[in-house]
C-alpha cells in the first residue's frame, strides 16, 4: 500500500544560519506540509518569510499575504501585496525562546496550471496566533522552498530550529 503521508526531508540546525532550504522537492506528491519550530539567534521577535521557486528562488514582487491575527487583547486582519516573499507569521512570530510553531500547507504545489497558494497557522503563546494565506503568482511547479528570518541574511535562526517537509498523496 503506497504511503499517503511521507517525510521528504528534515533540517535541524546545529548552528545559527540565515535560511533553511528544501530543494529538488519531488513533484510526485499532491500537497506539501511543513512543520516549523523556529528560534531566533538574537533577542527580540522577527517574522519568518517564505520564498519558493522552480529550480531557483523567485526574488521578484510576485508574492502576497492576507492574514488574521490575535494578540490576546486585539484581533485584526491585514494584507500585503506585491511583496518579495510570503509573510509566514505576524504576531505568532519567532523569538529567542522555544515557543514558535508554524504549519504551512502548500496545496497542489506541482501543477503547472494555477498560481500557488499556501495556508499557514503560526503560533507563539506569549505573543499571538495567526491564520495566513499566501500566494505566489506563478504557474510554475514548486520544487524549492526557503524559510528565512531575514531576506538580507543578516538575522539568523538559532541552533535547534527545526523544519520538516512532508508530502501528501491524493492517490
Amino acid at each position: 500500500m503506497p504511503a499517503t503521508y511521507e517525510n521528504i526531508a528534515t533540517t535541524t540546525l546545529g548552528s545559527s544560519q540565515a535560511n533553511i532550504d528544501f530543494t529538488n522537492i519531488p513533484g510526485t506528491f499532491t500537497d506539501l506540509v511543513v512543520i516549523a519550530t523556529l528560534k531566533r539567534a538574537a533577542a527580540g521577535a522577527l517574522d519568518a518569510n517564505i520564498r519558493v521557486g522552480n529550480n531557483s528562488f523567485d526574488t521578484g514582487s510576485n508574492y502576497s499575504t492576507t492574514l488574521l491575527y490575535g494578540t490576546g487583547s486585539a484581533a485584526g486582519s491585514t494584507r500585503f501585496a506585491n511583496q518579495t516573499s510570503i509573510l509566514a507569521d505576524y504576531y505568532g512570530s519567532v523569538n529567542d525562546t522555544n515557543e514558535h510553531i508554524a504549519i504551512y500547507q502548500f496545496m497542489n504545489y506541482s501543477n503547472t496550471t494555477t498560481n500557488k497558494t499556501v495556508i499557514i497557522r503560526a503560533n507563539r503563546a506569549s505573543s499571538g496566533v495567526d491564520a495566513i494565506v499566501g500566494l505566489w503568482r506563478s504557474t510554475s511547479a514548486i520544487n524549492q522552498i526557503r524559510i528565512t528570518l531575514d531576506l538580507g541574511g543578516a538575522q539568523l535562526m538559532a541552533s535547534g530550529s527545526t523544519i520538516t517537509l512532508y508530502g501528501i498523496k491524493a492517490a
Binding site: 503521508y5 488574521l68 484581533a75 510553531i101
Partner: protein, 169 residues
C-alpha cells in the same frame, strides 16, 4: 518503509457520557503528535471548550487565541489550552471539531501547541471558529493526555478523540 503518520489510539464516549477522554502510555518514538477531536459536552450552553492535561499536571498552561462568532473577530488569553466544541444546548446531533498539533512532544523544552477548532449550531451566535496558540511551560516529555470539558462535567455519547503519531524519519 516506516509509517510517517500512524494512529496511536482512539477513544469513543459510550452511553452515559464520560468525564474525560484519556491517552496513557504514549510511546516516545514519534516526532510530533496530532489529536483530532469531535466533541459535545453536557454544558447547558450552545458552546463549550475542551481542556487538556499533559501527564496529569494541572498547572503551567497558557493560551492566546483569535476567534469569530459573527461580526468582528475577537482575541483573548486563558490559563488553559482551549479548543471550542459544542455544548448540550446546540443543534441535536451536532458536535464541534478540533485539531491539536504538538511538535517535539518528547523534547526537553516547554511544549507549544497549535489548536484549530470549530463549534456550530443552526443559530445566530454562541458558536466559534477558534484558533489558539497554546503553551505548557513544562520541559517533561508528554506521556499522557487527558481531555475534559471546560464548563461541563462530561462529554456526551459519540464524542471521539484520536491520537496520531507523526515521524520525521
Amino acid at each position: 518503509m516506516p509509517v510517517t503518520y500512524k494512529k496511536i489510539a482512539s477513544v469513543t464516549v459510550g452511553a452515559g457520557g464520560a468525564a474525560t477522554m484519556d491517552f496513557n502510555s504514549i510511546p516516545g518514538t514519534y516526532t510530533d503528535l496530532k489529536l483530532i477531536i469531535s466533541a459535545k459536552t453536557n454544558a447547558a450552553s450552545i458552546s463549550d471548550f475542551t481542556k487538556i492535561r499533559f501527564n496529569g499536571v494541572s498547572t503551567s498552561y497558557s493560551n492566546r487565541n483569535v476567534y469569530g462568532q459573527s461580526g468582528s473577530p475577537f482575541s483573548s488569553t486563558n490559563t488553559e489550552i482551549l479548543a471550542s466544541c459544542n455544548g448540550n444546548n446546540s443543534t441535536a446531533s451536532t458536535f464541534g471539531n478540533s485539531e491539536y498539533y504538538l511538535p517535539n512532544y518528547t523534547g526537553n523544552t516547554n511544549k507549544s501547541v497549535s489548536v484549530d477548532s470549530v463549534s456550530e449550531t443552526n443559530g445566530t451566535n454562541d458558536t466559534y471558529a477558534w484558533l489558539a496558540a497554546g503553551l505548557w511551560s513544562n520541559t517533561a516529555a508528554i506521556t499522557s493526555i487527558s481531555l475534559s470539558p471546560f464548563n461541563g462535567t462530561s462529554f456526551n455519547q459519540y464524542s471521539t478523540a484520536t491520537l496520531y503519531g507523526i515521524s520525521k524519519s
